[in-house]
Amino acid sequence: MELIINGDKVEVPNKITTVSSLLQHFGINQKVVIVELNQSILEKGSHQETTISDRDKIEIVNFVGGG
């Protein structure tokens, strides 16, 4: 499946079906992130049930602490 993540085309395995599993795939499921799917922002509690499909446009913003 091909996704557009933060503007880049990214190939991910087809077994990834939800936002949660996508974050897990990238190893960032423990991080505090905000996810936008096709220009609609997702509540954090909905990552598990929100499904993703081919060509979806996803923005992932990671909260970092440094400064």
Binding site: I34, E36, I41, G67
Partner: protein, 339 residues
């Protein structure tokens, strides 16, 4: 008329009126590291009326690559950051009222600093203090501008009490751990980009041009050529305990704060996070062993020796910092290596 601000006054969204507003405003910059020195210099050059800057740390050689107000002599003498910053800022613009303090900021300190402040600039390096700033901002209805960076990545969000979601709405919980500039590195353009976002939003607020505010959470990665701006208004929560209908400002209460204690006669400071954690000691061992220190691990704790300090990390989150009785120094080491 003063020549000094002529180019800024020619910029029509500011103009003479805007300049006059800027000159009557007071900005509090919390932190005098990379973001703090960048923001402070920009705001002092722009002619803000008063600038207060606070920090608990001193200048080290590893700061000079990106912390723009400091010079080699400051690192040689281990000058407190705000002392060195104040000196340089006064040389840049003697018209600005600059108040600098060497201070380990927590709730009581901010409550004292906040009087007649128009805007708070976040230039801190951890989320404990940011959640306190967030609650203070809501309690006193003062806007603040979150900014952070690591590696070539940066992020910023402007928080207007009563309008935008606050940091508590966006984060829900306080992030623990995570990479820091001292574990993952940082390049100065990432700092400068965050400073550019933060100080531009600051100027809009200072001249009261509220329509021009970005209204989006912005993040970027300069090395990977990414840029993202997303609207987060939908994440504002009516029942948020920091900015909702009946706020309790949880991060201003004692229970939710990271606690520190000097252990008697042991040259050691204990730092205890507000909630019990389950630290992944093995993962931390890998990260910390890349820092040049000596790491040893057993099933209960991890010991990390770096220069003359030893950090001992327990699974439940507690950390002992050996080799200092100074709480500010201990906190600096804690946030440097553990985020």
């Amino acid at each position: 008329m003063s020549e000094r601000y002529s180019r800024q006054e020619l910029f029509s969204p500011i103009g003479k009126d805007g300049q006059s507003k800027i000159s009557r405003k007071h900005v509090l910059v919390i932190g005098a590291g990379a973001l703090g020195t960048g923001s402070a210099e920009a705001l002092v050059r722009a002619g803000v009326g008063k600038l207060t800057i606070v920090d608990r740390d001193y200048v080290e050689w590893s700061n000079l690559q990106r912390q723009q107000l400091y010079v080699e002599e400051d690192a040689k003498q281990r000058m407190p950051k705000t002392v060195a910053a104040e000196k340089r800022l006064r040389m840049i613009n003697s018209e600005v009222d600059i108040q600098a303090s060497v201070l380990d900021v927590s709730v009581e300190e901010i409550e004292q600093l906040i009087d007649e402040v128009d805007l708070i600039m976040d230039a801190t390096d951890n989320f404990d203090i940011r959640m306190i700033i967030n609650d203070i901002s809501q309690k006193y209805q003062i806007p603040w501008i979150y900014g952070a960076c690591v590696g070539s990545y940066g992020i910023s969000h402007t928080i207007l009490p009563g309008e935008t979601p606050c940091l508590h709405c966006l984060l829900e919980t306080v992030p623990m751990g995570g990479v820091t500039c001292d574990t993952a590195g940082i390049i100065s353009p990432a700092v400068q980009m965050v400073v550019a976002y933060q100080t531009t939003e600051a100027m809009k607020l200072l001249v009261e041009d509220y329509h021009a505010l970005r209204k989006k959470l912005v993040s970027f990665d300069l090395w990977k050529n990414h840029h993202t701006a997303i609207g987060v208004d939908k994440l504002k929560k009516e029942d948020c305990s920091s900015c909702g209908q009946s706020p309790t400002y949880p991060f201003l209460s004692f229970e939710n704060r990271t606690k520190t204690a000097v252990l008697c006669g042991r040259d050691t400071v204990q730092i205890r996070p507000p909630e019990r954690m389950n630290r992944d000691l093995e993962k931390l061992a890998t990260i910390l062993s890349e820092q040049g220190g000596r790491v040893s691990l057993n099933p209960y704790l991890l010991s990390f020796q770096i220069e003359k300090h030893r950090l001992v990390l327990f699974k439940d989150g507690r950390v002992l910092i050996h080799g200092t009785k100074d709480i500010a120094k201990a906190k600096t080491l804690y946030h440097r290596y553990l985020g």
